[in-house]
Amino acid sequence: MTTEPGFLDGNAAAGDLESLFGADMTTAAGQCQGCGLRMRLAEAHAYLGGPGTVLRCPGCEDVLLRMVRSPNHLWLDASGLDYLRLPAAAG
């Protein structure tokens, strides 16, 4: 089985992620739980426009993060990331 890409780069999810984390997440970094690749979230593959926002690893295409916004809740699964490193607020 091969795959055909249909993604945007992680910057396309910047608005969604900033609304969740309250910080510019394009400079955030993380490590893929699947293959161990370390990356900036801006380098992740973003799938938007469907039921939710999906970020996938640019190395292995495993899901890094899923986010769904309902009228009353914001749902986040970031279990595909070993860690997420956010920029500290300017002091």
Binding site: M1, T3, P5, G6, D62, R66, V68, N72, W75, D77
Partner: protein
């Protein structure tokens, strides 16, 4: 017993079509994906049913094509709020595929090539309500719409109609799929606007 009424939400349409609450009609066919499009060769394609006791049933492409098919024309409703009327498909009814499967399961977890999954009650796959569809509008189902074959369960929101379907796990206990684990409804009835958990 709960009495479910469609109330006054649905909008009457020409030719008997009706729009569920909160939906709008599109004449296009939007492509929504949560991941890369898997390209599955027909030589490698396989559809597998696993029962709750671990018994495995499978069909390759030639075996699927040899089964009697149906040509349902149905309205489809995406949870992102578009609906498309009168879509024409060809596929094999799940009644045919599950006819000889011995199971007392109540739930199904549908799996796709790639990592997509979705859950629904087994009874919603039976009695003429669901197909493994491989043609759309008299042509082979394009990969971006789920080809070589996708599940078609038009009475539920379309995320339940898994693209690139590879099989069904039959389960005694409900197990949530890709979107259901992040807030989407376990059942997803468009007429009751069951978009998110709690709806």
């Amino acid at each position: 017993m709960a009495v479910i009424s469609r109330g006054f939400h649905g909008r009457a349409r020409d030719k008997g079509h009706e729009l569920p609450p909160g939906q709008y009609e599109t004449t296009g066919f939007p492509v929504l994906s949560a991941g890369p499009t898997p390209v599955v060769s027909l030589d490698d394609w396989e559809f597998t049913v696993r029962t709750e006791t671990g018994v495995r049933y499978s069909w390759n492409w030639q075996e699927l094509m040899a089964l009697p098919s149906e040509t349902p024309t149905v309205d489809i409703h995406c949870v992102t709020k578009w609906s498309k009327f009168g879509t024409r498909w060809q596929g094999v009814s799940l009644d045919v595929l599950l006819a000889d499967v011995e199971s007392g399961a109540e739930y199904a977890l549908v799996r796709s090539y790639g990592d997509y999954t979705t859950n629904l009650p087994l009874e919603d796959l039976l009695d003429g309500k669901a197909w493994v569809a491989y043609r759309f509008d008299d042509e082979e189902l394009p990969a971006e719409h789920g080809g070589p074959a996708r599940l078609l369960v038009p009475h539920l929101y379309f995320w339940k109609s898994a693209k690139w379907v590879s099989g069904i796990q039959l389960l005694d206990e409900e197990e949530q799929g890709f979107w259901e684990t992040v807030g989407y409804h376990n059942y997803g009835d468009p007429w009751r606007e069951q978009r998110y958990q709690g709806d």
